[in-house]
């Protein structure tokens, strides 16, 4: 009892990602139509939206596209008059599809990024002990088979290989001899497997119906790099971490309605099983340091999104599209964090397609998502304030059919 024993244990990063990290940008046509397309068979992006519809595509084709995601967030801490903004960083999700085969059976390969996000705040912002930077990418590669059982019914499915990559940075509330706060960086990658399957049905009334399910994928991150920039006297610190990212399953029911030969209306209802985020665990190695393993409750709830889009073939080479959607946040009150300050969101989109030649076409889309302002006090960090976010997403794709 001559001196006081120090029991400093630092509770550390917990990766959280909400609906903001679900990237619904898997085809420029569909994006331009509010993100709906499960009940349609309009292009190769059906590999993602509904593998059952792939068999109904009239031609073989390849398509590549990309978007630029501008996520704009602002935070006003409770009691403060200083609004803080995130840094302007642009995430570039992409998609690539190839479909080939006969009239009865089609094969395809798809690569797309259904989850990902890029959020950077100032290294010294008021929420630095929650997060300063998160860069998450999940790339899905999906070989697919789709069979036309009858002229009215298509079935398809694919195996999904997922590669995930995460870089998380956060301030640590420990001051060094210069009075500066510490920093933790976790950088790791991992992989996992899942599947995607769908049914496509042409009803007698002319309506098309699609049902698809993309399974949950557990991406196991092993031996990721953990870098702690903290006072040397409290070390040593862990050098690696492992964790598991659960990428939730999505079930979708979609409809296609055709008021005229040149006009298509698409409607999708998504159900995303975010409840896989009961809690998130991080394990550090070596153990026995001042950084304990963490296991934080998240208590996400499943959430729905509704999407409605329309396209009109205005001239023989030009198609115009527009859409609207609404998505409910899976993040319940008290768990909103600045990685992506999640909230219910309204989506508005528009786009056009242009056939340069009968085989070669260009599609462009623009999506705006407005998130409801959300005033929150985080249960875990006590960070209290109002978040507002808008998302702007231009995109373009090229496709070639034969």
């Amino acid at each position: 009892m001559r001196k006081i024993l120090l029991g400093i244990l630092m509770s550390l990063p917990v990766l959280v990602f909400g609906q903001g990290f679900q990237v619904n940008l898997q085809g420029q046509k569909q994006t331009a139509m509010g993100g709906a397309g499960t009940g349609l068979a309009i292009d190769e992006a059906s590999l993602f939206f509904n593998p059952g519809a792939v068999s109904m595509l009239e031609k073989n084709g390849v398509q590549v596209g990309a978007n630029l995601v501008f996520l704009k967030s602002a935070f006003l801490q409770t009691g403060s008059s200083t609004v803080e903004y995130n840094k302007s960083e642009v995430a570039p999700p992409f998609q690539g599809y190839a479909v080939f085969g006969s009239d009865k059976i089609k094969f395809g390969i798809a690569a797309y990024t259904p989850f990902g996000g890029l959020m950077k705040w100032d290294d010294n912002w008021s929420g630095k002990y929650s997060v300063t930077s998160l860069n998450l990418k999940a790339i899905y590669v999906q070989p697919t088979v789709s069979v036309k059982l009858t002229d009215y019914l298509g079935l398809g499915g694919g195996l999904v290989y997922t590669y995930g990559d995460v870089n998380l940075q956060r301030g640590v509330p420990l001051s060094n001899s210069a009075g500066e706060s510490g920093k933790a960086t976790l950088d790791g990658h991992g992989n996992g497997w899942g599947w995607n399957a769908g049914i496509y049905l042409k009803a007698i009334t002319g309506v098309t119906i699609g049902i698809s399910h993309r399974s949950k994928v557990d991406v196991k991150v092993k031996d990721g790099d953990a870098v702690f920039e903290l006072p040397a006297s409290l070390g040593p610190y862990p050098t690696s971490f492992s964790s598991q990212l659960a990428l939730p399953a999505t079930t979708t029911l979609g409809f296609g309605i055709y008021p005229s030969k040149k006009t298509t209306i698409a409607f999708d209802a998504n159900w995303v099983q975010w409840h896989v985020y009961r809690n998130l665990a991080f394990a550090y190695s070596p153990t026995g340091t001042r950084i304990p393993n963490t296991n934080s409750p998240r208590n996400y709830k499943d959430a729905a999104a509704l999407r409605l889009g329309i396209q009109n073939q205005t001239t023989s080479s030009l198609t115009l599209r527009a859409g609207i959607g609404y998505a409910w946040s899976p993040v319940v009150d008290g768990y909103v964090t600045p990685e992506v300050p999640d909230a219910d969101r309204l989506m508005l989109s528009a786009g056009l397609g242009y056939n340069v030649t009968p085989k070669f076409s260009v599609d462009a889309s623009f999506l705006f998502e407005g998130l409801k302002d959300r005033t929150q006090t985080n249960i875990e960090t006590g960070l209290s304030g109002k978040f507002a976010s808008d998302v702007y997403v231009p995109g373009i794709s090229l496709s070639y059919k034969w």
Binding site: M1, T82, S126, S130, G382, K386, P394
Partner: protein
Amino acid sequence: MKFNNKINYIVASALLFIAACKPSIDAPSVSKGQADFSRYISVGNSLTAGYADGGLYLEGQKASYPEMLAGQMKAAGGGDFKTPFFNEDQANGSGYLHISGFNTDGTPQITPVKDNLAVRGQVAIPGFGNVTLYTKYSGDINNYGVPGIKLQQINYAPYGNLNGYYERLLPGNAGTNNTPYIDFVTAKPFTFFSCWLGNNDALGYATSGGANPADQLTDKNQFAQLYTFAIARLTANGAKGVVATIPDVTSIPYFTTVTYAALLAGAQKVSPAVQAIFIQASDAPGGVRAATAQDLFTLTLNSDGVFGKPNAAGIPYGLHPLNPIESKYVLDKTETANVKDYVSYYNSVIKSVAASKGLAVMDAFTVLGQFKAGKVVDGVTVNSNFVTGNLFSLDGVHLTPFGYALVANEFIKSINSQYGSTLSTVDPTKYRMVKFP
């Protein structure tokens, strides 16, 4: 080609436009309400001066809560705010404690910083003792925080000769001063004040274990009379202000780190036969009794390293009635109850005087009491644990810059609610906690 250029131009402009877009949050406008912050002065003791880690030094002065308040008042018509800073080359002021390293068992080595001091000498004041003197400060002053001052002393003319921190602000040398503190701080007109006085009237008694005859609790009537007098002087010219209450002594790590249970466990680890800890106690028939969990021990009992050491007769310190823990290390349960009773009375005086003058109240007693239980603020765990609690500095009494920022925000909330002003809070994460090498 021309068409393509046009498209490129349109796309580039659109992307630039998007890049410049910002989501809108209406930042509340900062206003002064019914208050006038054009000249703010802060009146108080060490907490007001920015004292921390057992000393007053430049970094602490810069992170005082009055500096933070004044910084926020600037946006609402506040004027310049001057703290009597130590010079850069004497930045370590009185000297202070820091963690210089760790022992092999993981315990911190807390040692004094003794270079670059602002000490200019020492003077013997007849009938009082030695007073350490600091380099004089001669500029404008808004932060009148004087470490060590009691409410009891604000109208005592010779006080400028007894306290080196006060002497430093006065033009005259120790021995020649006769300006009472309350006259000094009110000499120049001001429009707004903060007053956090009274802590030392209870704390001086408590931190010395009630053992120092010169540091007894200020008489209740005297406290009430002087507090009323002080506030009357501060409000005499119509200034508005905020006052703060006195925290519970049991909410500071100076009294909560070394506990009866820890002492007993520590002793039994060395000698399993130990059954009791013996203390000098004001409430014991012979002046000595076995300690209980209700008795508080000072942090200095630990840092002085006396516990368990045998005396000349071979009796270990604190483990036998013939060599008890001295009174200066113990706030026994009777003394503790006594302090609590006085603090409670002082606080009732502070609140009722404030109410009578329509002043804002920052209830430090309640605020620090809430932190004692533990809170998470902006991702930082805050409690009253020594070193690790992020709130208190290495002396176990005064706050870290982060802790002072939390207090500044409580002042701001009180001011806003009393005067209808909308001062912005400060961002506590911009301020440090205990430093580790």
